[in-house]
Symmetry: C4
Subunit: 198 residues, 4 copies
């Protein structure tokens, strides 16, 4: 198991893909035909789903940034674990548009949660592989620690997906809850870094 590749190109490629995903989502905000402010009203659910997905992708970029910042070597498995994460995130514009254009209808809203769930699983797999390479005593391993956010988020998605068929508002509220949980950047890593240099 040769962990001999550096992280810079992995970060650059991930940044590129995330930047594109986050930006092409806005293409779903179709220019309205009318020229009054009222013409924007039908766009409200599309806009709301755009904001939600923008925040989610921002969270992923943010956490990815923090995680790779304390990673010094990667191997081929990491490259694929990272591509696996990017694959699920690449589906976010699709499910965002489907959910937004259909006013958070049950199936699209559940599918949105499914893609979020798979992305969360992919992130967890990537994180575990990185810890395996860096070692249990590494800065990364200590920074991640118990990782209650990483444990709770998939559980909330698992609740939200069937809940979408009962009421899309429950599912939506759960997605917003997970986003809020993560919105605070991952201070664990910053603290671990500060502790090390302090």
């Amino acid at each position: 198991m040769a962990a001999v590749l550096d992280t810079s190109r992995l970060e650059a490629f991930s940044d590129g893909v995330l930047a594109i995903i986050i930006t092409i989502m806005v293409l779903e905000l179709k220019v309205p035909h009318g020229t009054t402010l009222a013409a924007l009203t039908p766009l409200a659910p599309v806009f709301a789903s755009y904001v939600l997905s923008f925040v989610y992708l921002g969270i992923y970029w943010n956490n990815h940034h923090h995680m790779l910042h304390v990673t010094h070597a990667v191997d081929g498995v990491v490259l694929w674990a990272n591509l696996h994460l990017l694959f699920w995130l690449s589906l976010v514009p699709f499910v965002t548009a489907w959910m937004g254009e259909n006013h958070f209808a049950p199936a699209p809203t559940a599918t949105y949660g499914f893609v979020l769930l798979m992305a969360a699983v992919a992130y967890e797999l990537l994180q575990r592989r990185l810890i395996l390479i860096q070692g249990e005593d590494s800065l990364l391993a200590r920074a991640i620690g118990r990782d209650w956010k990483g444990t709770v988020s998939p559980l909330l998605y698992v609740v939200a997906i069937p809940a979408a068929f009962i009421s899309q508002w429950i599912a939506g509220a759960l997605y917003v809850t997970v986003a809020l949980i993560w919105l605070v950047p991952d201070r664990r890593i910053e603290r671990a870094l500060a502790a090390q240099s302090g």
Copy 2:
């Protein structure tokens, strides 16, 4: 408050998003059906709004470049302040297309100004956070100084937004004025750098 992340990935990600935003705007320049030069005439307002937005995004990239150039450390709050800025800028292609396709109709022109205003506010918040981290004695703080441009621009937007409903030409002229004010790159930072090394 741990300002321990370096700026390179923040710059790379912002460059990626700005590069994509500036480029996908051109997708709104729909290929005309005719094959004469006259077929380009109806595209004139779309083209004019494209040029204006290209210049605005160029200004943001330029100032962002200068600002980060004298920044040595960022923290999680900066990452989110930066994403907040990118969010408003990501809406520029949408409002540009809406304004251009409708020949600078009042509501789209006002909405364009609103997005510019929010981007200006987001830039100011990002700048303040960076100064807070770098310190009041930092190169950045000294380079920014009084920041009359940063104070005047939002005021001009606030005037332009209601003015669009009276005459879109007033609003348009104000947007062009703000662009011209900023078109000169931020010499303050270059001067501060020259003074330091001189």
Copy 3:
């Protein structure tokens, strides 16, 4: 023959193009009109072809990453050999969409294989030029070695292209086989690096 340019901008540009190619493919996943899970069913072939192409582009990025990692200097010919590779890869979204939307019809499926074949040839040309510059004793040359994968893949494409007109499933199975062959990252380079540093 002056091999005096460094590889960083070549990598950055390639990362950018590959990131965009891999991401715009998802735009072909058109949002379905229905709001039931059944509305996703007609998307199955489009989705399957997306997954296949995502994996292929991931393989190219992965191998490109590994190859450039042990390359220290490039020249103008390499820049063009790299652009030639990116050209064929840029056609992947087009043939992916054509194949997926037509449920793997013979001609689109054969054309897909043709583009993969040309990309494989372009990759081989790039690799040879890099080995020529680095020298036969270089880390790259030793890492690549016999390169049975590089020899077998084009042969399988050459079989798959006419086979698509007999049965698209044979062609599809061959494309999946090539992907599986490469899915394991190029351990040769990692081993060569480990041997060197060991």
Copy 4:
């Protein structure tokens, strides 16, 4: 005149924009409705114009890469000269599509030449500014030297633009000629580098 900014972010941003321009052009290759190879025939002019523009953008990236490689400092004027170049290049997908979809009709073909001309002028302006900053004795100034290519290319465009209204084949032949002139990478810079290190 403070030439105090480094070139890395300028290169990264330019790479990003060029990568996106080169890639979104392929979106104009609309998936054909038929499923036979014959269905690809109507795409021939679109494909031909795509290849031509891909090569042109490759040339610009290549030369930009070489030019910035021997540049060590940039200033605010350079940032804008570079954005000016990117602006004209950003119009390439638009004119490529207009020309390709209309089988090289006179006006679109002339407009294509006009955009190429403006890009060539913008490149020349950028180059002059860089030489001014680096100095007449700089590696860049010596490498560029007489720059006959830079002189001849705009002249050929100036001939091609009116010629397109007489025969689009003359214009097309001239565009291909300019591309071939530049297709050889800018050995002047590689030679100057080799001479310096030799």
